[in-house]
Amino acid sequence: MSMTPIALAASTSAPASSDTLPRGASGFPSPADDYREAPLDLHHHLVRRPASTFFMRLEGDDHHHAGLYHGDLLVIDRAISPRPGHWLVAVIDGELSVLRLERRGPQLYLAPSRPGLATLPFEDNDDRLWGVICYAIHALPATGEEPAIPSCSR
């Protein structure tokens, strides 16, 4: 399970200072002190490189089949080099757009999901690339936990 490395990483960080920890009524340190680890920080887990990581909202349901839904919170890391199979934010017609990068033979393409849109050849150092999407986050339905999403952009 992928939790192991996080737990290891947390245990190698500096131990919490004992005077910040609760002591038993007798004044003895809690025996649990030695096993204390920093809580898991989801932001830290999802954002490896804060300087190059940006968040966006996905608009439109065309990538529904791939598990990307309208309103998803996209985590984009510009430092990642795009590879076939990656989902990208690219600038198409002056608009931030979400497409999949596909290889067909030797050529790479930006592949749209919406019917009727053409695939676009993608070059090395293509200046339409904005960034590689590394996570799409959405609440599962009917939990009432998803943040309200304003219906249209500003």
Binding site: R49, G60, V91, R114
Partner: protein, 419 residues
């Protein structure tokens, strides 16, 4: 060696990053309260709309061809901090100089300077998405000139390296350059230099040190020495007078304590406020940065945040209040070596006419600050200092064309359309 990295048309570039349809479009950015144009894209400059023009005076025909944006210091500050983080990872020491420029101290590195410059430029373009240019030279003064030269290049990456002060291309450049364009030589000095026949930067660096000290000042002698490749000016010696103010200091020993840092912060705000009032200027935005010692063991921390002031101000209390909030935001437990504050978008005080709808420094605050300066001048700087001030009074700014705070607010994230 030193480098100066500068973001090209920084505010316009920040707007374009999240609104790519603005690429190639003339973009102008307006001051706090949308009063006048404070930043322009290349296309906007090409229309000959001058810097500082009041918004309502832009020719209506031109007005329809351009896009105007209210200044969004929250966004600019966040992107500025990201640029610094990307650079700080790659060089030993980074000193922010203003919201869109920083010096890198490259002393001790043995590098192919062109390759290093190209690498730094590429990393910022790729990771943050903002175009930058870099000048590398033996002193800060020369690095600043090299940066300007880099910016004039039409090829990418924009890198200009003068590895030695006697490089022939540098001599050619200085022969054509007016002393006025050298860091720290203002109009007034320029006129006096012309009077004694010093008409070029090359002539300035050939003038004997003793003569400059006798007829001008130690600082100008140092500037000449910097032009000759001898580093002797720190960032605090000289500032770009009309654009920004920087007050920073390294601590004698590392400071961990939030309260001690807040004390240093108040001290810097007092100095910055005095500098502003001395030059009859006011600032529209303030930034705070903190860093640990890069040469010590442990995690290197470098943090920097900016915010807009509710209205242009030269009021020490106003500055301190905003700076204090920034410090609270960026402070985390660490042993800090340096703290600094920066002021941006300086405008002359007389330009700020108080109107009913536009925020401006109330006259009695100005009078208070005059009294403040007078007391400190007469009885010494320790006689009157500023204690901590509570944060209060949200003041809504007039920013009709502000872009979203794309990187700092959940409800203002950029939208990416599924295709």
């Amino acid at each position: 060696m030193f480098a100066l990295i500068d973001c090209n048309n920084f505010y316009a570039a920040c707007e374009r990053l999240f609104e790519p349809r603005l690429e190639g479009v003339p973009v102008g950015v307006l001051s706090n309260n949308d009063g006048c144009v404070i930043a322009r894209s290349e296309e906007f400059k090409a229309l000959d709309i001058p810097m500082g023009i009041p918004t309502h005076k832009i020719d209506p025909a031109l007005r329809r061809r351009v896009v105007l944006k209210s200044s969004n210091y929250t966004l600019y500050g966040d992107l500025s901090a990201r640029v610094q983080q990307v650079l700080a990872r790659q060089v030993p020491t980074l000193e922010p100089y203003s919201i869109d420029e920083c010096f890198l101290d490259l002393r001790g590195l043995q590098e192919d300077w062109h390759a290093l410059g190209a690498r730094l430029v590429h990393s910022v373009v790729r990771e943050v998405g903002l175009p930058v240019s870099i000048g590398i030279a033996p002193t800060r003064t020369l690095a600043k000139l090299a940066n300007r030269q880099a910016k004039a290049q039409s090829t990418r990456p924009q890198v200009c390296v003068w590895a030695h002060a006697d490089a022939p291309e540098l001599s050619t450049h200085l022969n054509r350059l007016s002393p006025r364009d050298v860091w720290g030589v203002g109009e007034r000095l320029h006129a006096r230099l012309a009077g004694m026949g010093v008409l070029t930067a090359a002539a300035l660096r050939e003038t004997p040190d003793s003569e400059l000290r006798r007829r001008f000042s130690v600082v100008l002698a140092r500037t000449a020495s910097e032009l000759n490749g001898h580093p002797c000016l720190s960032m605090n010696d000289l500032e770009t007078p009309r654009r920004s103010i920087l007050c920073s200091r390294s601590f004698g020993r590392p400071l961990r304590d939030h309260a001690a840092l807040a004390g240093a912060l108040r001290h810097h705000c007092q100095r910055a406020g005095e500098k502003l009032r001395r030059d009859a200027m006011q600032a529209s935005a303030i930034g705070v940065y903190l860093r640990t010692n890069p040469y010590h063991a442990g995690t290197f921390r470098h943090a920097c945040e900016w915010t807009a002031l509710p209205f242009p101000s030269a009021d020490t209390q106003q500055l301190t209040r905003a700076a204090q909030r920034l410090l609270d935001q960026i402070w985390q437990p660490a042993a800090y070596q340096k703290l600094g504050i920066m002021l941006a978008e300086l405008t002359p005080r007389q330009q700020s006419q108080t109107t009913l709808f536009e925020g401006a420094e109330p006259a009695r605050r100005e009078a208070l600050m005059e009294a403040w300066d007078a007391i400190r001048a007469r009885y010494g700087r320790q006689a009157l200092t500023l204690g901590p001030q509570p944060a209060d009074a949200p003041w809504q700014m007039n920013s009709a064309y502000r872009s979203a705070c794309y990187t700092t607010r959940w409800d203002e994230l950029p939208r990416a359309r599924a295709r």
